[in-house]
Structure formats: structure tokens, C-alpha cells
Symmetry: D2
Subunit: 345 residues, 4 copies
């Protein structure tokens, strides 16, 4: 897989995850989340996020985690503000609408996958909860890393959350690549979530190195909605019987900071890829590389050369391409790319 | 876990499953079901079910598998006939209503978890698709093993399916314990599904020995609804990125008949448990033991003795108790029970 | 229409309703319920129901009124207890499931359309809100008149409501024939609603004599859910622009007790029909005649004779027939029936 | 109401409608649409639209008519293309999402309430039905008159419909002010609907002069979805018992072209209002006046003067104002406006 930059969802799980699964696979364990590993996961997260006011629910997919999270925040007659390229709008086949029972997404523009502040302010100012014809915004959903691979500066994230909360909205953070953002922005999990005003976080671990594990975290008052979330998870088919295996994956990654180490490794690879590409004439980044994704415009001959060499990566709307690194992106991949580009030059 | 008869969902996964996961965990693999293992699973099932007219979709939970299966068979203004103790009615928190968009379950009575034929005929005869006030039945959902641990005789299953199809209904089979029924009834997978008139089967493997893997199988014409099922799975959060790990689990169990061997082992343990208990004065079975579950009335002193010895099993509505065996129920468990009962006598 | 006993929904509107519509049809009026007649209707109902803690919303159909009422009482993961012949179960094509977003109906048996107390107590006792697999009952829905044309004795209604409230449930009353029950039971509107523990009443006026007008009344604390109800009404298409015409119908009927007078007239006609029929050999009532509906078993020759004479009425499940009277059932109809039966004798 | 230009939904019903209701109010009539007037309405529309391949369903509100129409065209996993100011997006509180079971609206820009052709072509070209992550467009919904009071030129409407149909989409036309567009564009009902490629039309009559009556018309092949529409109408609470009164309203307006005469009257009044206003210095139209609505920028002093005189009309997003005329806008209103403006000048 030397030149495979297709996606972090195509990567294998980290060996520690497999080891943890094997260790979890001994003896009987209560099903549906009443097992010791699920309890340990809760403790682990409470420590990591520096708070006891939280409720955690693991899911096997990010779409499920986002949609369930939103369904405890947004009523069927409410709306969710999000970026117009947000994953919940573009890539989840109407899951938020399905789980909220018909809620709407209201799309906001902004460069590099980040909502424009003026657009956000306008949208918040336009809310008229008593005007029954319109669907009032009830939630602001932010994404960190954004769909463009960029990170909101922590202060900006907190500022947006504060604006939303002042307007009476709840704040959701889609953290499918939360770990990549954490290491890139050098802040703590708490600082990038509840301390910044986030009510509910969906913390992705699959792209970081799990087999399939995403966590929904309800913070503060929202932890009081745990029963509602569990009921909705159950009827959504997201309460599998042997939940110890979801907990085991998360524990393996969170322990001793492995998730951050893996994210740092992925980010570093992305910077190397970016540097190699940008050294070529005619190459320009579409967005800053704040995490493990490189969005780039490639001159046609270079593109042809990469394809001829079997390099894998996806074209992106607007004429650019996306190259993704992950924990398993090896030195060999970087080296192979380097060789290829050097030969070309 | 010597005297743990609580549930087959509390059992660990079979070691072959863990081995398969580890083997699947090499290199990159296309996500969302476009990987070689998912393709291999399709071939494996085509061979096992003796047909190419099928579409398979793996899910992490049985509730998801049932609800998604029903959502491609029943419209939002239609109804599903099922037993009044069916899992889809009792234990899935409204998942069928959620995924169908508001379809109704119409409950039919019958002893030992099996629908009474007269009740079924009445319900079919009562359908008036043009009477707009009433919700017409569009699907018959049967369960094999039933919620009472009994198996429909294969001929009866086929007869019910035929009645339903004559009335224009589709036929769904909830096979959470399909393997247990297969070995107990000594018929082939094809004979207990599409050859018996089943349109859609949810084939459970989690209780058989997987970590978490249930398969939805669309047979014959219904395979034409594959795109609809995939779209609904995606928006339900049931298309996790790294689907190779779901396929790997299923392949490990289906290969060389391991799933049937494990089911046979569980059934045999259940018969031993049943025999040991029934040899005690005052003990009587509530239902025949057709699979891996024993439903039994226990005299108070015996019950107390079992509890005192730390035996784990659940009370059941109506005053009986349920003891469940599984692939990992060991000779030690049976022996421990035997000793306990002998001492008592 | 001399022998037309088909339905009270086939009757014309009372002339006072038409007059009121004509009077309302002058000049401009704010739309969507912000008009003077809508305000007057609120005042009228506050006086009639002896409370200011209420919110009223008119609807054009009873199915809409029931489903909207239930949607502010029952969550998508909750259940509604009702009689197994209730209109919301049998005749509304899944509207409650649709408007609640997937809530379930849990059916209770009982003779003459009235829930059996033991069955109700069992259902209430079985609620386990923390057992996530099952769908806990959140609402008790009673019907007055029942689908069998009988009336719950006021004390029984209040007793059932009290049992439900003790168990934490909200209480809904489907009053499609509320006026008929009021005059039959000789109690006040308040006594048969909020004073009896009813949280939300759907008060039908269409069968009483309106063109098309049903009222949802939220009492007491539930009046605080007015905004939620309005939002759901709007997105359900139940906020027509010219709402003055709904209010005008209701005002015309409620004024000076016209609705009760019309209901009394219908009830009296039904008693006459019942007396005439029961005087015939072999005729027996299936249910007591507590309102404007007569359910009766008719000997075959008598049935043939009625049909031959062009009499209109519907067969009912179980071999009986239903004859319905209404405000416009004239002395001529009763006389014609009398003559027909006399000739036969 | 001399200077009331607030809304055509605040106008009374035309006297012919009241007369028709009174005439319909004789004797018994089968309920739920099986009455002679409903049959007559079908015949009337078949003649008016020059086709027998149609199915008609009357509704009491435009939101209901639009949402029900869309629910038979768009699956729960599909999307509807519409203008970003469309009524279905802005003013229906999520009704399309509710009735489709979670379908999405995809918003397209364009001046004067009309979709930009390039944006439409881009959206159609972007559809990838097999890319399961994205929600593919299944319907194009156009509005005639648009929300800006403009009319699509008939050829443009037909062109857009043709583009949509080529891409496999169904075409819906929201005709809340269809009559106003017909007289303004001087084409026949058939030419502005099915002959132009429209599959389903919601034809509004309430703003034209009804008390409350909107018609859903399924054309051609779509008429085959009549049973589906009826079932969805029933469960949506949009099948009121005494449907003869909906049919009567529609018949009264459609007979002898009364609806077109009333629309012409409203349009003419709007042109007069527009002419009077535009003769004032500093006044400019925001959009062309193609129907009964005038969107206009008013200098502050003029605005103050109008308000001081008690004139009623709404401010509009972007700083303009909307003045609406209707069938009952009298010569006195125009005269009063004329006097007011003359005095000012």
C-alpha cells in the first residue's frame, strides 16, 4: 500500500485494538453496556475530560453517532445550523433528518470548511421561535477537523459556541477527527469540548485506529438526557448485545495517550506529503493542512504521473484532490512519494 | 462461569472469530462494503443458500437487522403480522415503527411462541387494501427459533409463508437463532428460508459465536431492493466504514460449518440441562426444548438452592424461568449443575 | 333519507353553522388563528370548561385532532395504552404512529369498548421505564363515547385517569362523540374532562353538527405545550390560513348549548330506534345505547326486510349491525321505521 | 379595510362559495370523498385540464397539499430540488421532511424567486444515485407564481420540467397562486401543468376565493399513485368526513371560470397599486408584478405616511415591502391609496 492515500477509513486497526479485543474475549459479560469494560470506559473518559458530568455511548459508525447526538438536541420541528459542506449534510444520507424525526439542516457558508462568523450571527439573529411558519434553529453543529481538513482555532470554536448558547442553542461537535485536531491545536480534550461550550461531542476513533468505534459524549446538563439517548440508540439498532467489544477498542486507544500518538503520526505524515507536493512547481494547497488530510491542486502532468504509479487518492469537488494519511501510513509511503516526485523533477 | 445460564448474548466470541479479525487486519481495504472479504461473504452465502439471487448486508445488531429488513418490505401505511411475543414487538423499542416510518405491528396469538393458524387465516382474510381507514397487513414476520425457544416445524413454516404470499404479503424470518433451528430441525439453510417462501431473512450470528454480526439476506425478487436497503442502512448509521471486519466474522463462522457445530453444541447442552432439571420432582418444562433455551417451572426450594449456589438465569413472565446455553457452555457447567441437583435430591 | 342510519358523518351541518359561516365572511381577518373569532372561541371554551388554564386548537378532522393531541403527550420511544377497538388503533391508518414519530399503541381488552380495569392495572404495573428494550407506556387514551356507543360512567373515567396519573402517564380523551356522552351522563364538560384527570381532550363537533371542526383542548400544565402543538399542527398541514371559519363553526354550536341540544336529539332518536327494534322478536342489543348509536343483532328475515325497504346501516364485526342517529334524524325516519316494523309484525 | 394589502389569505371567501356550501348542505351524503359532489369535481377538473388521466384530492391547507404531493414523489432517502426561497423550504415548518419521512430539500438560487438554469443543470448533473452517502434528487419542485410574485414564462417552466424528467426526476408544481399565473401568462391549465411536464400540481383556491380548499392533482402515470396518496392523506388527518364541503367550494370557483375572473381582478388591482406607487418619486419595484403581489422599495417618508394612514402590508426580507391584492380588493381601496398618494405629492 505504498502510495495509498485514499482514506483513513481504509486503514487497518492498530494492533493494540486487536489485542484488547482478544483480552476482552474471556468469560461471560453482561450485555447491552452493563459490563465492566463499559464501566471502565466511563471512568477513563471522566478522567480524560476532567469531569464526572458526562455520559458516554459507543456506536459502530460516525453517522450513527452524529445522528443520535443530534436527536437528543433538536426537536422534530427545529433546525440545526451547520456548514454547507458538513458531513451531516453531505455524506450521511439524511440520517439527521431521520433520527430527529424531520428536523432540518440550515446551511451556512464559509471558507475552508469553517462557518463564516457574519453568516452565523445572521442566522442566530434571524431565529423567531414564535413565528410558527419557520423552523427555528435549536442546535449549532460544528466540525473539528472540518471537512476541508482544517481546524477551528480553539478560541474561535469557543466563541462560536458562546454565540450559539447566548441565542439559546445547544452546541454539537462532530469530532470524527477530534484527535487530529487536538494534537494540531495543542489543547486538552476538555478545552476542545465542554470547556469551550460544547454540549455533545461525537468523538471518532475509527479513523484514528479502531476497528469501528465512535463515542457520543453528553456533557454537563446534557448528561441528564442519557435515558433518552439510550432509548433512541436502542430503537436505532445501536445497542448491540456484546458492547464490551466496543468499550475494549476505545480503552485500548485512549490508554496512555495512544490515540493522540497515532493522530500525531498521521498529521506528521500529512505534513510530509504536503511538503513534498508543494515543492513541485504548480502545486498549491487548497486548504491549510491542520491534520491528516492534504487538499491540493495538482498540475495535469503530475496528476498523470501519480496515477501511472498507482497512487490512490480521490478527486475533490472544485478540481482539487484529497490525500489522506493515517496511523499506518508508513515511512515507505512517504519515501515512495518522494522518489516518484524526485524522478519527475 | 460454571452456573451462568443467563444469556447467549453474554458469551464471548468463538476464537476462530478473533483469529479471522486479526487476519483481516492487514493493509488497506476499501471501506463501506467494497472490500474483498465482503465479496467473499456474498459468494459464501450464495453457495450455502444454493442461490445467486440474493443480496447480503451485515449489521452489528439484531434490532438493526430486523428493522432494516422490515423497512424494505412494509410501507409507512402498512402493517406487519407477528406473534404477540415476537422480539420485534417486545424487545426492540419501536425500531420497526421507526425504520418503516410509522408502520404498525399487528399481533397474533398462539402457544409456545408460534402463531396460531386460525388467527393467521383470520388476519389474512381481514385485509382490505382499499379500505383506507384500516392499515392493511403487508408483511408476515415469523421467528425461528421463537421467543419461547421452540422451532416451527419446517412444513408449518412453509405453509404459513404460502398462506401469506397467496394473500399478497411478503415474508420475513427473524432468525436470531437460525442456526439452532437448522440443526434442531435437520434441514438446509435454503429449505428453511427462500425454498420455504421466505423473502427476507435476518440471520443472527452473534448468539452463535460472533462478536457482533447479523446478516440481512434478500432473496429472489427482493434482491432487487438492494439499493433501497443500502440507502436505508446508510441513513440508519448501519454502514460502518471498515466493513471488512463484519464480513470476517461471518466468514469465520460459516466456514466448514462451524456455525452449525456451535449451534449443535449449544442445543446439546440445553438438552442436558433440561434432562437434569426434569429429573427433579416438581419441575416441568414450559415449552419443548427445540434449541438452546430451556423454559421451566421450578419449585421454590429448588429455585432457592440454585440462587444460593450462584446460578445465573432470568425469571420469565408467567412464573417460569429461562436458562440459556451457548457454544461456550462447558462440560463443567453441566457437571456443576448435575452435582448441585444430586446433592439436593 | 327516511331510513338512513348509516353514519353521523354523513349528516349535513346544522343551519346555524352555515349562518355563522356567512356572518364570519365579512371583511379581512388575520390568518392562522389570530382573528377575533378564534379569540372568542377561546373565551367561550374557558367559560364552558370553567378554567383559564387551557389552550385550544381547531382541526378539520378527528384523526388529525387525535394524532396531534397524542404527539404532544407521547415521545417517539413511548407507548399509548388504549382499548383494542379504539378509533386511534382501528380507523386512523397509523396516524398516531406518524405524528408521534414512531410511538406504539398498546392494546387493552374489555367488554363494550371499555378497558377492563384489571388489564389496565396490569399494563400500568408492567411499566419499566429503565428497561430500555421495552417501550414504556406514557399515555392512557380513553374514548367517550366508546367505539361501541357506550359511555364510561363518570366515576370510572375519573378512576382510570387517576390510576394512570399515579403511574406517571398523561391522559388523553378521544371525545369524537363527547356531547352525546355529556347529555347521556348528565355531567358538565369540566367534570368529564380536566376535573376527571384528563390532560388533553379532542372534542368532536363534526358528528354533532359542524361542517368539519374538531377541537384539541390542552388543560392545566399541558397548556404550556401550546407552542409545541402549534408547531406540530403547522408542519402537519393543520394550520389553514382562514381559521376564522373553523372558529365560527365551533362558536355557533357551543353558543346557548346548541351542541348539547343536538346531541340530546340524536340520543333520543337512537333510544327510539332501539326501542322499536327491541320490540321485535329475536332482536337483541349488542351494547347498551348510551348515546346516538345502536348496535344490534337482527334476525335474518328482519334484516332482509330492512334492506328491501332501502334502509341504510352498516354490518359490524361479529355479526351485529350499527344504526346511527344524529341531529338531523327526523321524526319521519323514526315513523318510517315504526311503520316498516309494524307491517312486518 | 380600505388600505388592507396584508395578504390574500386574510380575505373573505367569495359569496358563490358560501352559496355552494349552503346548497351542498342538504340531506345525507357518503363521507370521505364518496359523495356526488366529489365525483362532479373530478369530472370538472378532467374537462378543465383536458385529460382523464388524473386523480384529485382536496385539502384544507396548502402546506398539507404540498407535503402530501411531495410524499408520493420523493422517498425517505431522496431529495427535492427547489428555490431557496420556496414556500416548502421557508414557510412550512418542515412539513415536506415530515410527510416524506425524512427526505431533504436541496436549495437552488436564482433571481426573482426563479431557479437559475445553470444551478439547476449543475444540480441535475451532480446526481449519483449509486453513491450511497449522498441523497440523490428525486423531485424538482417549482412554484408558480413564485414567492416573489413573478411567473415563470410557460416555455421556461416546460424547459425546466423537461430537464428534470430527462434526469429521471418527477416534477411538482406548487400552484398556490396558479390562477393568478394562468391569467397573467394567458395559457390554459393543461398547458401550465401536465402538458408542460408537471407530474403533480397543488392547485390553490384559498387565496383565489375559497374558505379553505387546495387541490392535489396527480397527472398521467402518477394517477396510479392515487391509493398511496389517499392512504397518506388519511394518516395525515387530511381525509375529513364531510368532504362534500371541500368539493363544493372548488366547484363553485371552477364553474364558468369564476376562479380566473377573480384572479384577473386581483392581478388588475395589483397592477393599479403598482402603477400608483411607481408614479411616486423614489419608489421602485423589487420584482415585476406578474400576479397579485407587489414587491416594492418605499422611501422612508412615504412608508411613514402609509403607516400613518393605517395601511396594512408586510415588510419583506431585504428592506422591501409586499402589498397583496385579492378578489375582494375593492375600487375603494385603490381609490383610497390614490388619494393618499396624491395628497402626499
Amino acid at each position: 500500500m505504498a502510495l495509498d492515500f485514499s482514506s483513513d477509513t481504509s486503514a487497518p486497526a492498530h494492533p493494540a485494538v486487536l489485542t484488547a479485543l482478544a483480552e476482552a474475549n474471556h468469560g461471560m459479560a453482561s450485555s447491552y453496556g452493563n459490563d465492566p469494560l463499559s464501566a471502565a470506559l466511563h471512568r477513563q473518559l471522566a478522567a480524560l475530560f476532567e469531569t464526572d458530568d458526562l455520559f458516554v455511548w459507543p456506536c459502530a459508525s460516525g453517522t450513527a453517532a452524529n445522528a443520535l447526538a443530534l436527536s437528543v438536541l433538536c426537536s422534530p420541528t427545529g433546525a440545526i445550523l451547520c456548514h454547507d459542506e458538513a458531513h451531516i449534510e453531505r455524506d450521511e444520507r439524511g440520517a439527521p433528518e431521520f433520527f430527529t424525526g424531520g428536523g432540518k439542516l440550515r446551511l451556512l457558508p464559509g471558507p475552508a470548511g469553517q462557518i463564516d462568523e457574519a453568516a452565523l450571527r445572521d442566522a442566530l439573529a434571524a431565529i423567531q421561535p414564535d413565528f410558527v411558519h419557520e423552523t427555528p434553529a435549536e442546535v449549532l453543529s460544528l466540525t473539528q477537523l472540518t471537512e476541508c481538513g482544517t481546524a477551528y482555532a480553539p478560541a474561535r470554536l469557543a466563541h462560536y459556541a458562546a454565540l450559539a448558547r447566548e441565542a439559546g442553542l445547544a452546541v454539537h461537535l462532530d469530532g470524527a477527527r477530534f484527535a487530529n485536531a487536538l494534537v494540531s491545536q495543542a489543547v486538552s480534550p476538555a478545552e476542545m469540548s465542554w470547556k469551550a461550550g460544547v454540549d455533545v461531542l461525537t468523538l471518532g476513533l475509527t479513523k484514528t485506529g479502531a476497528m469501528g468505534c465512535e463515542l457520543i459524549l453528553l456533557f454537563g446538563d446534557m448528561a441528564g438526557r442519557a435515558a433518552r439517548l439510550r432509548a433512541r440508540a436502542k430503537r436505532g439498532g445501536h445497542m448491540p448485545p456484546k458492547m464490551r467489544f466496543l468499550a475494549a477498542q476505545a480503552l485500548a486507544l485512549l490508554q496512555d495517550g495512544l490515540w493522540l500518538e497515532l493522530a500525531e503520526r498521521a498529521n506528521r505524515s500529512a505534513r510530509l506529503v504536503s511538503d513534498l507536493l508543494c515543492a513541485q512547481p504548480g502545486v498549491e494547497l487548497t486548504y491549510p493542512v491542520d491534520g491528516n488530510e492534504v487538499f491540493v491542486r495538482l498540475p495535469e502532468p503530475l496528476l498523470a504521473r501519480l496515477h501511472a504509479a498507482g497512487a490512490l487518492f480521490y478527486p475533490w469537488p472544485g478540481g482539487s484532490h484529497r490525500l489522506v494519511c493515517h496511523w499506518a501510513t508508513g515511512a515507505d509511503s512517504i519515501e515512495a512519494l518522494s522518489v516518484l516526485l524526485r524522478d519527475q523533477a
